[in-house]
């Protein structure tokens, strides 16, 4: 692998062969020198210690002894991913500043302005979608966490058939949004769906779950909770298992009731699990596009349930307002960043990276 770098370097600098004979080697080393470079660390010159090796050695000393050798492993994938993620986000930002739309082949980058963002602020559809996104994120995340926590506590009480229950609760998570959307479409069906069947037995309804603008968003949140509470349960379960049994026993000995024990002793220790589950759930929530698209089989979700994710795709791919779609995407990205940024800093501080 090292040879690869050496060859690469040779092609870039064909004269490097001469440097071997160059007696004035010390100069380069001094430049590459690092704080850790004591006077005694100067090794006797060896014949094969050419510029490449020295360059490599100086890089290694700055970044750590395996830096160059290990870069073959992580650098190419990192660059590929960086191109597709960060390169694309920056590109997207640029496009959002153009007026790119319709069947133009490429955006015109010569004229950049914030027109698309002012347009968004004036677009009541955008404001509604942003509000819906926030409601969805908060209600979905909070609801899913609570259901997941309750399930995890119940399952952790040393029950029989634990694996069976866990498997059932997590089952919806393995299904595609496209598939679960079909199920819930059927459940929310006005005439024959289970939802209306169920409330019918209490003499209520029927309700047009997906047709009523005030209800539809919550109906969708409920369906998403069904799909992801198993995930929250698994994360909480791992958190609960990490708590030593002594804590339960100590609380018992102190005479705490079961409820008090969980509230005062156990739940506070699940902070880490809550944070990481919440971040992941919010991201799932922002990706709820697949579910809404499949629910109607098209770009236009039920009235009252439009979120930024669906609006962005609709504007770009149905209405061909590429630049406007990009601007909405940047807003969505900003929302995601405001959640992920602090989370990553938190994980870094805890030395968890």
């Amino acid at each position: 692998m090292l040879d690869f770098y050496r060859r690469l370097y040779r092609t870039i600098r064909p004269s490097s062969g001469d440097d071997e004979a160059n007696p004035d080697d010390g100069g380069v080393r001094a430049d590459g020198g690092v704080v850790t470079d004591g006077p005694a660390a100067e090794p006797p010159a060896e014949p094969d210690r050419d510029v490449t090796t020295r360059l490599k050695a100086s890089l290694d000393r700055r970044f750590g002894s395996d830096f160059m050798e290990s870069s073959v492993f992580w650098l190419p994938p990192f660059l590929l991913m960086g191109l597709f993620v960060y390169g694309a986000v920056i590109w997207n930002l640029l496009i959002s500043l153009t007026d790119y739309q319709r069947f133009e082949n490429a955006p015109d980058y010569s004229d950049l302005d914030f027109e698309m963002y002012t347009r968004a602020l004036a677009d009541s559809g955008f404001i509604d979608a942003a509000v819906n996104t926030l409601i969805l994120l908060i209600a979905f995340t909070a609801g899913t966490l609570i259901v997941g926590l309750v399930l995890a506590i119940l399952i952790d009480r040393g029950i029989r058939f634990e694996n069976t229950f866990r498997t059932i609760y997590l089952l919806p998570m393995s299904l595609s949004f496209v598939v679960t959307a079909q199920f819930w479409l059927w459940i929310y069906n006005y005439n024959n769906g289970i939802a209306n069947n169920l409330i019918g037995t209490f003499g209520l309804g029927p309700i047009s779950w997906l047709g009523n603008q005030d209800i539809v968003l919550y109906a969708i949140i409920f369906a998403l909770m069904w799909q992801f509470s198993g995930y929250a349960m698994v994360v909480y379960l791992a958190g609960l298992r990490a708590i030593p049994t002594e804590h339960y026993e100590a609380a018992k000995v102190d005479g705490a009731s079961a409820l008090k024990m969980y509230w005062r002793v156990i739940i506070p220790q699940l902070k880490g699990a809550t944070i990481s589950a919440a971040v992941v759930l919010m991201v799932f929530g922002m990706k709820a596009f697949d579910f809404l698209y499949s629910l109607v089989g098209g770009y236009r979700p039920p009235n009252g349930a439009d979120i930024l994710a669906t609006k962005m795709v609709r504007e770009a791919y149905a209405n061909l307002n590429w630049a406007y779609g990009s601007a909405i995407a940047i807003v969505l990205f900003g929302m995601a960043l405001s959640v992920i940024g602090p989370y990553l800093v938190y994980e870094y501080r805890r030395n968890n990276l």
């Binding site: 870069s71 992580w74 991913m81 590109w91 598939v179 779609g325 995601a336």
Partner: protein, 314 residues
């Protein structure tokens, strides 16, 4: 050498569970607990069960029987399954065509990346920066990259033209979309695969790696002879997780393949529009289609539930 065994450690888990159990011995409470658990199980299963029974119902049975009740002899039909399979089988093949290579490649690349960022010694602070950038990539809403992605594949890298010799062989050029999907899924799969492998590699014994280095092995040899052979359990987790994610994803297929009528349309794309017509929605067909499309991921989940749980929990 506990660090190398699969970490699904059932043994200690049950002991602690048993300990906890002794804390609350009231049987009435226990009975209540099971009632709640069973109700919860019903909540998760009924939508699926209802879908399953509906998929076998005739049009009249759908109206006449309760949505979760079995169809009964007169209302039973396999016609909808037949139709769903006819409609989706092509998509199933297409999905496998990109999901399998993308899964395998992203898992392998993730393993290599995680290795380079975990095992070799270089400055922790620099590693952390690279890792942060990679991990943030897991959480990016894909909407933020869609338009550039479309630009990239349609204007910059025009596979339809580049691979014209392939289409000349009689392969419909729509299949360029499949190749685009593989590369796209690999690129966006690198972050999560790297993270999963990294959590695993962090538990590997430092002394073992150091010992291999002292034995004269280069980093590449350490990976090939020590780390890779010991990565088996994590490969199971990552392959299963990635396969589920890629198979289930709709957004990229929608943007890159675009139409469900395309010969290269993946199953999710066809399913999203299945059973919708001007006369209304054919629920039995939709349910049959949903089940058929979910079969591969369901099979994976049922056979490898443990690994799946580990994948999502990481």
């Amino acid at each position: 050498m506990s660090d190398t065994e699969p970490r699904t450690d059932g043994g200690t888990m049950t002991t602690t569970a048993r300990l906890r159990r002794t804390l609350d011995q009231t049987t009435v409470e226990d009975a209540g607990l099971y009632v709640v658990l069973i109700f919860a199980a019903a909540f998760y299963l009924v939508p699926i069960e209802s879908g399953l029974v509906t998929s076998f119902k005739t049009g009249t049975a759908i109206i006449e029987t309760a949505p979760f009740a079995p169809p009964g002899a007169s209302g039973l039909t396999f016609e909808k399954w037949q139709a769903a399979i006819d409609a989706l089988l092509r998509g199933m093949g297409n999905s496998l065509l990109y999901a399998v290579p993308a899964t395998v490649i992203s898992a392998f690349v993730g393993s290599v990346t995680a290795y380079g960022l975990t095992i070799p010694t270089w400055k922790q602070s620099y590693k952390a920066v690279v890792l942060m950038l990679i991990i943030a990539g897991i959480f990016i809403p894909y909407q933020a990259v869609l338009v550039p992605l479309t630009q990239f594949w349609s204007q910059w890298v025009q596979l339809t033209q580049t691979l014209s010799f392939v289409w000349a062989l009689g392969v419909p050029d729509d299949y360029a979309g499949i190749i685009e999907l593989v590369i796209t899924h690999v690129a966006y799969g690198i972050p999560i695969c790297t993270l999963l492998f990294r959590t695993y590699y962090k538990t590997m014994s430092d002394e073992m790696i150091e010992s291999a280095r002292l034995d004269g092995a280069t980093l590449r040899r350490v990976y090939r002879r020590i780390v890779l052979p010991l990565s088996g359990p994590m490969f199971a987790v990552v392959l299963i997780y990635q396969f589920t994610q890629i198979w289930n994803d709709l957004l990229f297929t929608l943007v890159l393949v675009s139409t469900e009528s395309s010969p290269a349309a993946p199953v999710v794309l066809i399913l999203a529009g299945l059973g919708t017509s001007l006369e209304g929605q054919d629920f039995a067909l939709r349910m049959a289609g949903a089940f058929f499309a979910a079969l591969p991921t369901l099979a994976v989940y049922i056979f490898f539930g443990e690994e799946f749980a580990e994948g999502v929990a990481a």
